[in-house]
């Protein structure tokens, strides 16, 4: 695959140059969390805490039902934000300040919001580093998670044919 073809697969608006510090995005797609996401991913990554997959046991626990694994909530919120923030990412660099602020249950619908926090030079000249703050909220606009994430993003100047 040559560079011209690579450039046809992603949108022009998600290169490093396009991000403005201070901009806040509401991402287009929400997702209702079902056992499909929570139980499948929890089991796939071998998180053995049964409170995420034993509904019978959880009926007598304080929440009265299974709780979604925070790693699944995080992956969904970052995922829902990714087309607009990392479609042109060369790499995920890291994450900090991840806080799971409110429990998520099957049937809850999550939406993702992102603030562009900072832009900086990278070691390689064909990309730059963008810092995002992501927020995940449920159907009642209660914040369920937030995190700060750093991503290495292609520069259009190097990756899009003139």
């Amino acid at each position: 695959m040559d560079r011209a073809t690579v450039a046809t697969l992603t949108a022009p608006g998600s290169y490093f140059e396009a991000f403005e510090v201070g901009a806040v995005m509401k991402h287009a797609r929400g997702k209702t969390v079902e056992p499909l996401e929570n139980v499948l991913i929890t089991n796939l990554v071998m998180n053995t805490a049964a409170g995420h997959f034993d509904e019978h046991m959880m009926k007598t626990a304080p929440f009265g039902r299974r709780v979604v694994f925070g790693g699944v909530t995080t992956a969904l919120v970052v995922g829902m934000a990714s087309q607009d923030t990392a479609e042109n990412a060369l790499a995920e660099i890291g994450m900090t300040g991840l806080r799971l602020k409110s429990p998520v249950f099957h049937g809850d619908t999550l939406y993702a919001y992102t603030e562009v926090v900072a832009k900086e030079e990278a070691e390689r000249e064909d990309a730059g580093i963008v810092t995002f703050r992501h927020f995940g909220v449920n159907q009642d606009n209660v914040v369920v998670c937030e995190c700060v994430r750093r991503v290495l993003v292609k520069r259009a100047s190097h990756w899009r044919p003139a």
């Binding site: 997702k31 990554v45 998180n47 805490a49 790693g71 970052v78 995922g79 991840l98």
Partner: protein, 200 residues
């Protein structure tokens, strides 16, 4: 001999109910079963204690693509092989969020299986790409222990967790903090309660 006993016990403990068979919870068979507990309570942790977590896991290509598509993580790097090769990779790398959740998952039985809220993660760094058919293992070190001010049955533990590939290269590290239930109430909390009761 043992097999005969088990079969006899099963027969004695099983009763016919509408739609099938059910165990009778008063039968000797179920009453003699010994629970096999999993996980550690707060008392098991001390600063510096290291856990080499169980199992390890070889990640495969299709499950990595499934993780990205299921979480709507639309960066073609993780599910378009030709695109990944054009960006300089030998193969589609595994979505780093999957590496994170897997390494955390491998740590759960040792660190957080007994329950208590997952509070957060700091200082997460993806240190090397992970590719399909790489095998990851995990280890953690206890770095922080605090009492919960509001709940004598809970502590707050912080661990430094690291994930490694089959060559021993570190691919991820992060610091996780959880509420962790205690096996027994905090002793000084018991003393406070006793004093309060005396005062009343």
């Amino acid at each position: 001999m043992l097999g005969t006993q088990i079969r006899r016990g099963l027969r004695a403990g099983v009763t016919r109910v509408a739609g099938g068979f059910a165990f009778d919870m008063t039968s000797d068979f179920l009453k003699t079963a010994v629970p096999v507990p999993k996980g550690n309570h707060f008392e098991a942790f001390e600063i510096g204690r290291r856990f080499e977590h169980h199992w390890g896991r070889t990640l495969r290509n299709s499950e990595a693509a499934l993780f990205s598509t299921l979480t709507l993580h639309f960066n073609p790097l993780y599910f378009n092989r030709e695109y990944a090769i054009a960006l300089g990779h030998p193969e589609t790398p595994v979505n780093p969020l999957m590496v994170f959740t897997l390494v955390l998952g491998l740590s759960v039985e040792d660190l957080s299986e007994v329950g208590g809220a997952f509070l957060g993660v700091d200082d997460l760094a993806y240190e090397a790409p992970v590719y399909p058919d790489d095998t990851l293992t995990a280890r953690s070190t206890v770095t922080g222990l605090r009492e919960s001010s509001s709940n004598a049955m809970m502590g707050i533990a912080t661990w430094h967790t690291e994930g490694f590939n089959q060559r021993g290269e570190r691919v991820i590290s992060f610091v996780r903090t959880n509420m962790v239930p205690r096996a027994r109430p905090r002793q000084d909390a018991g003393a406070e309660n006793a004093q309060q009761e005396t005062a009343q």
